[in-house]
Amino acid sequence: MTERTRDFVTVGKSCRKVDGFALVTGKPEFVADLNLPETLHVRILGSPHAHARITSIDTAEAEAMDGVACVLTHENTPGTRHTTAGQGYPEPSPYDTRMFEDKVRFIGDRVAAVAADTPEIEEAALAAIRVEYEPLPAVLSIDEARADGAPIIHDEPDSTGIYDTTRNIVADVDIDIGDVSEGFDASDVVVETTCETQYAQHTPIETHVVLSYLDSAGRLVLRTSTQVPFHVRRIVAQTLGLPMHRIHVIKPRIGGGFGTKQEILLEDIAGLVSLRTGRPALVWLSRKEEFVASRTRHPMRVRVKLGAMNDGRLHAIEMEATSNTGAYGSHGLTVLANTGSKTLPLYNKAPNAHFYGQAVYTNLPVGGAYRGYGATQGYFPLETAMDELAEQLGMDPVELRQRNHIRVGETSPIFQKLGEGREGVSQTIKSCELPRCIEIGAERIGWARKRGKKLRVGEWVHGLGMSVMMQGSGIPEIDMGAATIKMNEDGSFNLLIGATDLGTGSDTILAQIAAEVLGVPVTKMLVVSSDTDITPFDVGAYASSTTYVSGMAVQRAAEAVRDQIFTVAAPMLDASADDLVLQEESVVAPSGKRVSLTQVCQRAMYESDQFQIGATASCVPTESPPPFLANFAEVAVNVETGKVRVVRYVAAIDCGVAINPQLAEGQMEGAIVNGIGYALTEEMILSSKGRVRNPSLFDYKIPSMLDVPPLDVILVESYEPTGPMGAKSVGEIGINGPIPTLANAIYDAVGVRLKRTPFTPERVLAAMREAGRVA
């Protein structure tokens, strides 16, 4: 779609990131990069038990130590029930968490916090806290959670929003379209497959960190590594019982998020320490604490059943998901719902569909938002089952997808039935270049040539796999973004956005959108983002929302500013405001006469009918146009060791118009490589007592530069008419691809279907043995 991007001046160009200079020169831009005098170091005491009641806690010795400023426990902190999930308000996650509590529900759960002058004193003080526990029977798997007589994890009377406390069920979803049992009866071919995903973690290179202090007016400032500054302000106010206007949240540069920083994990503790002591407080999780006590991707067991006619038309789809939310229900309902809502509309031709499932509590690490958000878990069995179905039908898997996927002008009843923890919003697809994505991807990987050939080189057998998918762009009728733009008399603009750049480059692409509308280079767009005192509201960076939702708010604000500029310029140019255009930092009349933006703003500020040129605009989207992705991979499987090597990975993505192609590719490349780690090596290994046994980047294996295969990301542009400049969002979708794509490629190579992630050599070899494929 270069013919469309050619009309743009700034959009569609890979300009440098607006924060790039500071980042490559190591400027002190991150949370912990401020050395404030008198800063207290805060550390949290974690529970050694998966499930226990605290019968007594004695902090006297710790508090008496020199250099200890305060100790927080359930005995001296507010007991308000809340959720740590930073989502739209009222939150769909249950209020099942207290700051501290006399009950602990997983190994690492908060018991107490110590604030001290130095890390050394802090360690000594933590060791001096005497805690007596009464251990309780623990629930250590999703099967145990709902069993008769299972221990009740949330037996407290004041938690709210839990579906069925007595059976440890945090959430329950059940939606029906048509009648699937009749649909399966009428189908020519039926396949059924069940897949399980593991505990996995985001591992941003910067762990969770917050620095709090009191400003000169005594207000609480939270400088925090978050994706959701405005939710932080609301939830900390609720948790600490503080008026919201006493809190100021600043998100500086942050070292990645991927969903784990959509949680309010530390801000309450840091804030309370500063309020109690009057001193700055730094809470910074160690890598081990991050693994043990932050958030994870909800492990799931998902069953998919497909019914199809002999010609390949899907007739019935059923998906049943059981999600392990761990000790708290953070994002429990919405991740579960998205497992269906972001996957099933892709195959909208089936007249019968059923999605149901439950999220259950266990005494294990806590689930949370993680890039992909349930869709990742859902596409594994769905795209595996599609591969199995293609085989049963004797049809090329590519053709089976082509026959069934959603297209422009079509809808799915799922959009309306299943939303963000409640009913969804109906929509018709207005942009979908998935057919071209499939075509380009198949060509690039050599699908027709190489698939099914089982090429053997020594111990390595090659195979090809593919999968297709969609996600969304924000949460319709819930998400909100807002932007303020004001003009300066040198023709530059301040762009104030609540949106949260967690490394994605959203500050840059939002500046590009504003610069495009106002006819200035990006360097004239001065960006301030994510400061609750300065910038307008935005829900934050999650659900692939920023480009689409915040981007539209920016476009609207820029258009309003443009109109004001034209009103001022019209008399200067003896022209009607309606006839003017903005070009190269000037307003141009049809006569060719022009005035510079500097002249326009100087007139507005100093000369005539003086006023501040500026506007604020908001966007609450009424739909969530999906990006579409076709994945193709070639793998080599070592038949002696079971090791899987990705030979090549091709991802063709319909992203709408790419505002900044380099940054859009970067989103895809990062997500795919994260997905490859999730598919092949990453797994939090839990002991029989529920303890994380590999809490380090040495033992939890994320991909390094050596592990990344040749990776082709192809941006296949479409034009999304509801998006800013035709754009959609692509923050998440890429991470869903590797698991089913590699699973299908492994099957093509060695004839075994992997149903449990990650596909380690041991699991691959065991599957081959079971299938009699090796001696």
């Binding site: 890979s14 500071a22 980042l23 490559v24 490394g503 380099q662 590719e665």
Partner: protein
């Protein structure tokens, strides 16, 4: 105890704890381009040049660096003029969140000093100690290749 260190060209005397890591000393002294990601030598975010060689400063006792020369990512640019590796990282879009970037850039400077014309495999090997969770490494590999090209060109002009 007291040590003398040259940090980004400035010699100074520093009072340290015997058990203090070089990473903590550098950050305490305001060199915030040295990042902490694991404290165990696994991620490379704290990489610096110690007497010209890239090392993880979280693994080194400050006490062992008396008399040494330290260069951090802050010490590579000359005012507004960036080091070619920094330029290449910006031009190739190799920076996302930027938290691993200073360490990655330091390792690249070290790699290109030892091997001005690395193959892709040598780049992957040379930077495998620097973990990045945002980029998928694709653009970082290209940035190293671009920097190598530019720096070779510079040599020819010398």
């Amino acid at each position: 105890m007291t040590i003398t260190l040259t940090i980004n060209g400035h010699q100074g005397t520093y009072e340290i704890d015997p058990g203090e890591k070089l990473l903590d000393l550098l950050r305490r002294e305001g060199h915030m381009g040295v990042k902490k990601g694991c404290g165990a030598g696994d991620c490379g975010a704290c990489a610096i040049l110690l007497d010209g060689r890239a090392v993880n400063s979280c693994l080194i006792f400050a006490a062992k660096t008396d008399g040494c020369d330290v260069v951090t990512a802050e010490g590579l640019a000359n005012g507004e003029t960036l080091h070619p590796v920094q330029e290449a990282f910006l031009d190739e879009g190799a920076v996302q969140c930027g938290y691993c970037t200073p360490g990655m850039i330091i390792s690249t400077v070290d790699l290109l000093r030892r091997n001005p014309d690395p193959t892709e495999e040598e780049i992957r090997e040379g930077l495998s100690g620097n973990l990045c969770r945002c980029t998928g490494y694709v653009k970082q590999i290209r940035a190293v290749q671009r920097a190598a090209e530019v720096m070779k060109g510079g040599d020819r002009n010398d």
